[in-house]
Symmetry: C2
Subunit: 241 residues, 2 copies
Amino acid sequence: MSVEIGCGIRHAVAAKPQMGVPMALKPAGKDQQRRKDRILDAAEILFAKHGFDGVTLRKVAALAEVDLALASYHFGSKQGLFDAVLLRRAEVLNERRLAALEACERAAAPKAPPVEEIVRAFLAPMFAADLARDPGWQHYFELIAYVNNAHDMGGRVMTQFFNPLVVRFMDVFKRAMPDTPPEQIYWSYHFMSAALSLTFAQTERMKILSGGAIDTRDLEAAVEQMIPFVTAGFERLCKTA
Amino acid sequence: MSVEIGCGIRHAVAAKPQMGVPMALKPAGKDQQRRKDRILDAAEILFAKHGFDGVTLRKVAALAEVDLALASYHFGSKQGLFDAVLLRRAEVLNERRLAALEACERAAAPKAPPVEEIVRAFLAPMFAADLARDPGWQHYFELIAYVNNAHDMGGRVMTQFFNPLVVRFMDVFKRAMPDTPPEQIYWSYHFMSAALSLTFAQTERMKILSGGAIDTRDLEAAVEQMIPFVTAGFERLCKTA
DNA sequence: ATTGAAATTCAACATGTGTTGAAATGTCAA
DNA sequence: TTGACATTTCAACACATGTTGAATTTCAAT
């Protein structure tokens, strides 16, 4: 079930080698890709807000203003659509994080970066202004938060799309704290990932609880609080006892 | 829609004042409550593992080995069943946490308790051996983790069942750090709640990522790591800048 | 213009959904 | 035993679900 990009699935019985057609806009109609993307956009919103089982293809089609059958045609199945939504922005996010990590490594070279800078490299890209103001990215992050906490998806999906990058981060953490047993670094990462997830879940719980004093949906404030909190946690937990 | 306890909903048109019948085992059959409880147990497991929309009343009935219609009869609707599952153990958990909080307040009186002890009073009851080894409570905590991160339920449900207790905790935190702006305390609580949620989500993600080095489903280890991590986060974030 | 493949629409399928009457069964007080 | 009520079963409802086959349209290359 490798992902077919750029052509429908139901029709792709043979998947011919395309006979030297220019890649750029191969079978490009007026809005050839527009409908497919609208489906992804709509699915992104709905999956983020209601989870996999809370969404129906009919609601997706309605929000995207396309025919119901089109989702199945382009993505094969509901699960295929879900994965496609996750895949679409994963690479970009991974690239941004990797760039941030390498930048902070360069700044500290030849020593390992301070823990706070590694934490920042991991968190900041998800709060960067250009992404944080893009509704599409917002919904994507909300979806990741949902998946990360989902009992039956957390393992598979997160690993599938983000493992290589996270492993890279773990290596830098280990290099920054060479005397710390890796277990404690993993635990710290777990708690950092938790803070990220609940924040992007976009609950209004804390607004209610605090009587309006804070709103965790304010991402600018969130990252400002999260970095010191998480860094302090890392540092205490990773002190060699 | 007040919750009717001890008698079916579909039948309760009049809800008469019971005419002096002994409360203890009023219409008690051989296993009068047994089926109702079995439904709650089954629903608890399935809702925790698959969320509200991922569960069907038929699967609940099958797991509980009762007739399909019984769930609707006893709880009125699927949503009613869901709320009943949440309600069942909420009071006990709240009592345990309150007891832990009051104990640590007494130990420190007349001063406010140290932050770490307040954190411990909040976390420890969910990891206490007698609950952590009871499968029922495990599923319940897993369900809470799901609800807390659910975009569309986090606000309502959490507030409904746990707000008074959490407000009580917030007051003690404020008393322990009188010079800290309440906003930072709320943020810290948010991150603590996140660590709790992701841990009880019982994902195998960290086991995969760490190559088996840690497993966040080991609750005994989890609380041991969580308390220092969260405490350190609190203390740094709540330093008056 | 013709062709051929991709994209889109339409209608339907088989199955699953929560919920509800009506009948049957159980339970205990009078 | 009888009567009254709670509980349980059975069957069905009205509707929603993901998916699919066939027909239609779109559109670039011939």
